[in-house]
Symmetry: C2
Subunit: 240 residues, 2 copies
Amino acid sequence: MSDFNLGFVIFPGITQLDFTGPFEVLSRLGTPPSLSVPSKFPDVKTHVVAKTLQPVSSDRGLAFLPTDTFETCPALDLLCVPGGSGLMEALADSELVDFVGRQGRQATYVTSVCIGAFLLGAAGLLKGRRATTHWAYVDLLPLVGAIHEEGRIVRDGNVVTSGGVTAGIDFAFSVVAEVAGPEVAQAIQLGIEYDPSPPFDAGHPDKASAAATSLMVQRNESSHTAIRKALEKRAAPGVP
Amino acid sequence: MSDFNLGFVIFPGITQLDFTGPFEVLSRLGTPPSLSVPSKFPDVKTHVVAKTLQPVSSDRGLAFLPTDTFETCPALDLLCVPGGSGLMEALADSELVDFVGRQGRQATYVTSVCIGAFLLGAAGLLKGRRATTHWAYVDLLPLVGAIHEEGRIVRDGNVVTSGGVTAGIDFAFSVVAEVAGPEVAQAIQLGIEYDPSPPFDAGHPDKASAAATSLMVQRNESSHTAIRKALEKRAAPGVP
């Protein structure tokens, strides 16, 4: 089987777990074939792609070194775009948005985690598509022409969008199951002991207390407004 | 409240999600107090500590930039040691093991994820303690004087060890709840939409198929043997 090129776009202010969660799961597609079922394991090459090869820091100060720039990155089989508080600047970066669009138009899988969905959207990849994003931002999906669908992972054709941050781990397993089969997904799950047992059941507004939800909505208010304005401006470029 | 110094030891060949999972959760302890309950939010400083400030690559090729060296890192309130396929080399690195011991003897919380437990053990921090590690390596815990206890997260005094890779996320939430209160833990859980929904229920040998477990045991065989030999040698330094 030929190479399977897996690419993550990173930018200053990413939420690093949006990226590192799926990275851990998807990069294991390339586990040496001594494991099992060799014919199902594609030869995975993992690309961490940014504007330059300089270090890129997450919104909590964790710095990564990219492996590829927008120019040097090969055609990707799977494109994954994370979110983060740096989204506003990323939306304004035409080289980044162009890269997402260019890769997204040819990739087998076009994916996002959290508010990375709006970068797919800005690149025109969500028009008429069912999609999701972080729960606090789902109301903004129509601004990029997407139709919000409830769900931690939403698939429409070759576009797979996922909810906030940790949803990227679940999304990655679903992709592994499709690319390499459920046995491989389950072997990876066992390998990383993904048997989650959160000490609280408060990971979605359906379950969290009204107080916690209200705090989070309040905390996200300014970025929600900023993203809304940026997307509205993009939708109607003539309007100041 | 004074600074809360949170430190992650990284080394070549770490399993990056052992580190980045708890990093995402624990670094949010430092969320600006505008969120809520300001008095409970310690002023968190996050340290990514390595032998030098040169980039450190994970076992799947993801490169991080450390923020501190073993010499420049301040006294930590919470020490977290991840695992990874580079464990053997890390066990042989006396500067690293000394750093873990020095910090571990004074930290409020001494923690590990996955086979990072053996670095705590090599530094003498698990003697007589109940502890856990990745399911495929729990039988080796007595070699560092620890008593294996079943559980995804095991706490004995100020030592908190957790199971394989993704167990670090659950462990981090339990620490946040203790340091900052359950409301803060739940707000962070909602913020990162940690409402896990794995597509399969195969994350532990209790649940996985015998075939998947056997594959994983087989795959870990050589590293299991290597770690066993290194720990046996350490336990009886006179024996070649």
